[in-house]
Amino acid sequence: MNADDLGPLFVRPADPHYLWILGVAIAAGSIAFALVGLVRGRTSLAAAAVGLIALPAFSYVIGGLFMMEESKRVSFCGSCHQPMAPLVAALATDTESLSSIHWQRGAVDHVDACYQWGAAAAKRAGMTHMLHTITGAYEFPLQKKGAFDVKSCLGCHAETEAFRKVEDHQDRDLQVAMLSGEVGCTGDCHPAAHPESALNGVGPAQPGGR
């Protein structure tokens, strides 16, 4: 159901970022300086220091910040390469996996749902994904690497009454096993995080979010 058809109450409030305007202005200034150097083959020391060293470097710092911010978006995750796109598309279509259940109930943010826990670790993982994409060093079906991150569930659920009332959650042995990474939430007691059909890297990139 399209939010625009339902009325303004169902449209997410705009949250524009203007960092890109600053970035484009700095990059354009740097290009102007560099064009003079390229065409004339000479320039002043001050112009070279500003236009070929300071401005370009600052432009890339801004670009890096911009990329960090944009890479939080779910649409960004699905925009890049074949393996991730079906996972993102399944958020809006699948009805059984944990990720889609959370997504469709609005239990997670629809803009930056993928990596809202542990920004630094997520960025490190993102860089690894980039390298895997370039080198093609991945295999289908995709598999979870390492122990399941129970903290990503506890971040919201640990303090809810419904979660606390569940008898299994009160079992101390199970608690220890979960916190040590021996047992995870998904796949054992709860459905898998993503549908199996989305782990084989087929289908175009159709992000469910912005």
């Binding site: 990059a27 083959g41 390469h81 860089m127």
Partner: protein, 76 residues
């Protein structure tokens, strides 16, 4: 050297502008693995060029051969 540095910087800046205009996985990969090395090379060349010109100016100021009949003079 200046022309090469300028060309590298221009290409690197075009890459970052592409990221601003279309922030997606592909442009992020190009920014990280193509744009950044190009920028590093361009900035490095520019620094070398600036230092060489700066050194040439300093040497010219203390070189008596540049001043006919003048005594050697060290710049303050």
């Amino acid at each position: 050297m200046l022309r090469l540095a300028s060309a590298l910087v221009i290409v690197a800046q075009l890459v970052v502008i592409a990221l601003y205009l279309r922030p997606a996985g592909n442009s992020a990969i190009v920014f990280t693995f193509v744009g950044t090395p190009l920028l590093a090379a361009g900035v490095l060349l520019a620094i070398v060029w600036v230092l060489r010109i700066f050194g040439r100016i300093r040497r010219a100021k203390v070189d008596p051969g540049n001043r006919s009949g003048a005594a050697p003079r060290v710049a303050p």
